[in-house]
């Protein structure tokens, strides 16, 4: 069966009125859990697994697909409006998105995120339908040495979020790296920085640090300054809708984001965060308005949001072609397959083609459903900004607390949340950027593990990073990304001097 006819059959299966209702249920639920800091799609789908005892596979996967994409979108909404990312992949979206919202451009920010999600989701699902077998072969060629080089390249993106002071930015990065070290070391099994506490053995959850630094830290910061300086938040200024210029600046970012996100999402160790970091860096470097970055550049929302969504589609490449789950959500979906007596493996596409295509079609329907749901709601969402700050942030604190307690039911995690929040307050107070903490915390452990795996496999031979073509290419790219901007600036400076 050809890909296209398979996809059309999938749509025929998925497009029943009942299934559309399931899609509506899934995307709505997904949006809610995405808005709530802490609760993620993996946990929600896991809790809904008993649904597989009751309904047919198509309906279950439509709900799960809806939750998956809905939660990604919900996470961006809170990032943009109230600087509270619900998940680690949306922190980059908060950088520019929230700046836009504060300047009365929340409407366009939400719109570019919604349309960008849709565009990237469409590209992602199309690539999934047509290119999956090719992409997966490339993804399998990545060895730990190559992943390490990819992490090195991703670290370059820190340069884009360091802020004005190099020293402060690097200090934040160091804090993130340190937090990432806590817990049992995966290669040796030895606990590090746990101080004998069982609660720290599994490490510190990135979500808790994200919610603590952003939601709690921001709330404390605003509370401390509320009486002295009035933070000026303009709910809506100008058009609620995207202007022609917004469109012109967004569309390339969407496409670039999608093509960064999809292949990285398809890699077994790629994840959803790294593509958003890389996309942000690329957009900042390519933008004609680099000075706007940090003050609400629309490309900085459009690109990472598209990358995030396309990576979400990419995750299905190894899952559907090889039966390999590469994220927590994919792992839960895999157990949903098993509930129906299907063991996903390399034969899934041939033995259960109808189910695979139904799943892919339902991902697409989820995407359309999200756009239809969210675009008309942009005006409503923006109204949140009219809520007086004390009430708004009181509510955020409540949701952050409930959400964190919801993940683990652990008092220890709550204490940790507020400790991190307090740290976030002081970092804001003394102008330390908070994003490098998260980047360090996500990339640090990944880079370390991949480095040590590479070393075990090469028996300690460091040259492996230079002899493997993929690794070498990525390292060269990293060097160029770091050295090109200052070099170009120097040349421009020289030329300016010469002509003067």
């Amino acid at each position: 069966m050809g890909s296209l006819s398979g996809l059309l059959d999938g749509f025929a299966n998925a497009l029943s009125p009942m299934n559309l209702l399931w899609a509506l249920f899934g995307t709505t639920l997904g949006t809610f859990i995405g808005v709530l800091p802490g609760l993620g799609p993996a946990l929600t789908i896991a809790l809904l697994l008993p649904l597989t005892f009751q309904v047919d596979p198509a309906a279950a996967f439509i709900v799960f697909g809806g939750i998956y994409f809905g939660s990604q979108f919900g996470g961006s909404t809170t990032s943009i409006l109230i600087n509270t990312p619900g998940e680690s992949a949306s922190i980059v979206i908060a950088l520019e998105g929230n700046q836009m919202a504060r300047r009365g451009r929340g409407g366009p920010a939400l719109a570019t995120a919604a349309i960008g999600s849709f565009v990237a989701g469409t590209i992602g699902v199309l690539c999934l339908s047509l290119l999956a077998p090719v992409v997966v072969r490339v993804a399998l060629a990545f060895a730990p040495a190559d992943y390490f080089a990819l992490m090195v390249l991703s670290f370059v993106t820190v340069a884009a979020v360091l802020g004005n002071s190099l020293l402060r930015g690097l200090a934040s990065l160091g804090l993130g790296l340190l937090l990432g070290l806590v817990g049992v070391d995966l290669q040796s099994g030895q606990p590090r920085f746990t101080f004998g506490s069982l609660d720290l053995l599994d490490g510190i959850d990135v979500i808790i640090v994200v919610v603590g630094l952003f939601a709690v830290g921001e709330t404390l910061h605003l509370a401390a300054r509320h009486r002295s300086t009035r933070e000026e938040i303009t709910p809506v200024e100008g058009s609620l809708w995207m202007t022609a210029q917004d469109w012109a600046r967004s569309w390339k970012a969407w496409i670039r984001g999608a093509f960064i996100g999809f292949p990285l999402g398809a890699m077994p160790a790629g994840g959803a965060e790294i593509p958003t970091f890389l996309s942000y860096f690329v957009e900042k470097k390519l933008s004609k308005h680099p000075e706007e970055f940090g003050r609400g550049a629309i490309e900085g929302v459009a690109g990472p949001e598209a990358a995030n969504n396309a990576a979400g589609a990419g995750v299905f490449v190894p899952l559907l072609t090889l039966g390999i789950p590469t994220s927590a959500t994919a792992a839960v979906m895999l157990s949903a397959f098993q509930s129906y007596g299907i063991n996903p493996g390399p034969q899934l596409l041939t033995s259960h083609a109808d189910l695979v295509w139904t799943l892919i079609a339902s991902l697409y329907i989820g995407n359309v459903m999200l756009l239809v749901l969210n675009l008309p709601l942009v005006g409503l969402w923006v109204q949140i900004l009219r809520v007086p700050t004390p009430y708004l942030y009181g509510g955020i604190l409540l949701f952050a607390t409930v959400g964190t307690y919801g993940i683990s039911r652990s008092v220890f995690d709550l204490v940790l949340l507020y400790a991190v929040g307090l740290a976030g307050f002081f970092m804001r107070r003394y102008a330390f950027p908070t994003s490098p903490v998260i980047i360090g915390m996500i990339l640090g452990p990944l880079a370390e593990q991949q480095f040590r795996r590479a070393m075990t496999m090469s028996q300690g031979d460091l040259s492996v990073f230079l002899t493997r073509p993929i690794s070498l290419t990525l390292l060269v790219l990293a060097v160029i990304a770091l050295s090109a901007p200052p070099l170009l600036a120097y040349r421009r400076h020289r030329r300016a001097l010469a002509s003067a």
Binding site: L140, A143, P144, L186, L198, D202, P268, G323, A331, G345
Partner: protein
Amino acid sequence: MLDRRSFLAATAGLAAATAGLGLPAAAKPFGSVSLFIPGAPGGGWDITGRVIDEVLKKNGLVRSSRITNVGGAGGTIGLPQFINQYDGDPNALFIAGAIMVGAIITNKTPVNLGLLKPVARLTGEYQVLVVPAASPVKTLAEFMALLKQDPKAVTWAGGAPGGTDHIFACLIAKAAGVPLSGLSYVAFTGGGGEAMASLLGNQVSAGISGYGEFAEQIKAGNLRALAISAPSRVASIEIPTLVEQGVDVTISNWRGVFGAPNLREAETAALIELATAMVQTQDWKQQLATRGWSDQFLPGAAFAAYLEQDVAATRSVLADLGLAK
């Protein structure tokens, strides 16, 4: 995040309320049962617990049930909580498995499974040693020879250190007479996806996991199975055991249920009876078949004896690795 964090299932709100009420065990057996799962929703223990719950209710063996999830640190976060909260509760069942044995030792948990009443080992999965399809190694004998010749050059992909995969690799290395410190064991996490990718990408010499995880890839010819860790041939699995190939290594990633500490003998017996009744139902057999779990039912005292052996074997390997004293 899922495998790292614990969670209270939506149904668990009343668990604490029923705990410690001390309903007389013999009078009204199992009107309600509390299932305590020391892993997060969606994981192996969670699915085992939820299947048990489903089968028990469907067959009228219990009227109602509550499920509590407290995950993290290989179950060693949930274990002390269960011991504290359900002490002497005759209606509580604790799900546990081989992974917890290793985690208790390496995490130096002050409590251990010995405090609980072993009710039954229910399911298990045997470990399989595979090589990529492109590997020149065709048999276990060739693999052992290669391992003896240059232990460091043989790279193994498997799960977290101290887990069943790692212990299995160490037992094979011990059988080959190779020092454990020289093993090139590469640990992966994340539902086995990355480990599988490294095998399919032909980046490692060998891989270790439960049979279920490899089954489809073996059938597709992407991986070559050299040996399975069962004591004797398993029906429907065409892989020779290590034992029959002259390597005396057996291991099982078992899962089972335990009763609360300080139960009276009659109360423990009632739980064993419940488990025995459950494994005889058609629904349970159906679930084993669908999910590819092998039936390793072992009730009460026999389970206790098996557990003791498993703990000793695990401890000796972990001590050699420097992960246990």
